[in-house]
Amino acid sequence: MSPPPHPRPDLAPHPRPDMPHAVPLAAATRRRGQHPGPLWQLLSSAGFRFALLFAALFLLAGLAFTGVLWWGTAGALDRQIDAAIRADAMALAERWRDAGDQAVADAIGERLALDAENQTLYLLSAPSGQRLAGNLEALPQGFAPDVQWYGMSLERDGIPGEARLFVLPLPDGSRLAVGRDVEEKLRLRALLTEGLAWSAGVALLFAFAGAALLRRALERRLAPVTATAALIAGGDLSPRVPLSGREDEFEALGHSMNTMLDRIAHLMEGVRGVSDAIAHDLRTPIARARNRLEEALANADDPAALHSALERGIADLDNVTRVFQAVLRIAEVEAGARRAAFAPVDLVPLLEDAAELYGATAEENGQTLRTEWPAALPLTGDRDLLLQALANLLDNAVKFTPDGGSILLKAELLEDAIVVRVSDQGPGLSLEDRERVGERFFRADSSRNTPGSGLGLSLVRAVVQLHGGTLWFDEGHGESLDKPGLAVCFRLPLA
């Protein structure tokens, strides 16, 4: 027997009396696994993780938005100030080239005199470093000749601030520094930062609240599925997932689960039916064999009677073995294991063999076997199984057709399939019985007195299904009302 598909996890070893500490430790570990803390429950929740992902994306979008906003406000202000400083410095440098130091000093004086906001910074220094004009004491600390732009701290009349400064070297070695007090801009930036920080905080709060809500909603939607699964795990296969009527993924999940459970219940019912049938159908021949052996034991002094009783007992037991072999073969065919043995085969020789075998039996019963098929019926399949299926059908037809009746074995080649029809003049099958006739050990009431195990058509159905075909029943060619006959037909695809 093959191992189960889902091996059971190793069970925890039984506590040993010589290991007193192992028991509480294992129990504590188990308890932790069974009852994790609320934080762990939250973090391990798929809903929470989805929500967290959503929140992360939300925050990422927020950051991108903030970046654009920052670039458009504080960044624009920076760029605007830098442009104004550079333009001012270039204008003064132009003036210096036209009229020299004094003209620039006058221009700086003029600019400072009109600076009502007290934001401009100027310095014109001689090549020696001496201050010629402007309101700055000196060039900035850490001044480097190859660096033009500076952002640094500023002290204006004892008041601290921030400055942005552009230092332009003039051709004679003089230096012209033009700058702005950017304290106001920094204040604006701080306000913007505070606003964005609050927004980020609120967004984070919303993200977490959304995550919790989403998790709760997912849990609520999945609760019926979980509850149903728990009931089924408890051994009751009857519960089904209640459907809410909404056309969403959870509804689809519940629907799929219900379909799966219906299928499992049907299979379980089938297995139970087969078990019951085996128990019922094998009990009779086994009991009969036992009786005969007992009878033989009673007549042990008569060698001929003993021999005869033993032979009958062996025949009964052979019958039991045949039933078991048939059941195993059906299981093998249904499992699809024989599909590997498929090969191109012509059905005509198989039909001829079956007709020859059962034609003789029919002839003995005074029956007529009529045959009809084309020259060739090529298909891909298992030769032995197909022959077995044909033999089972003909066996049934011969058994149920009355003496003097006729049996028709017909096959025809269609465009994409072969259709075989075995028709008899027996009692036929009611519509209800036709639906059950493929079940193992099923025997119609009208066939109770006929020898058989009720497995023949089960095997035929399994063989046809293995070949991708279909099996159905039709009216036979019986001539009386009480014996309308039965036609068993199957269709096998060519490809």
């Binding site: 009109l114 009502a116 700055l136 004491e137 701290s153 002290e155 009349d157 980020a200 905080g201 609120v202």
Partner: protein, 91 residues
Amino acid sequence: MLHDAGMLPRLLLALSVMSAPSRVAFPAELRTLPQDLHYCQELVARLATLPAGVQQPARGLGEEGELLCRTGHIRTGIARLRRALRVAQGR
């Protein structure tokens, strides 16, 4: 929960403030010249050279600025005089 939620923006703000260069702990890298009474007088003289400087409202602003400078409010006085100069120049 709201208390916790308020902590985060404060934390972010504190981080942004902490990351900015400190103005108190280190001396300034750039200094302006102290504004004094001499500069006030220089602005008054400059206003007097302008034709519109003797007319209202520039004259009034100038006088106000000069008075503030004399009474020790140099920065306010200079701001007033500068405004007078702007007005006198039609800006």
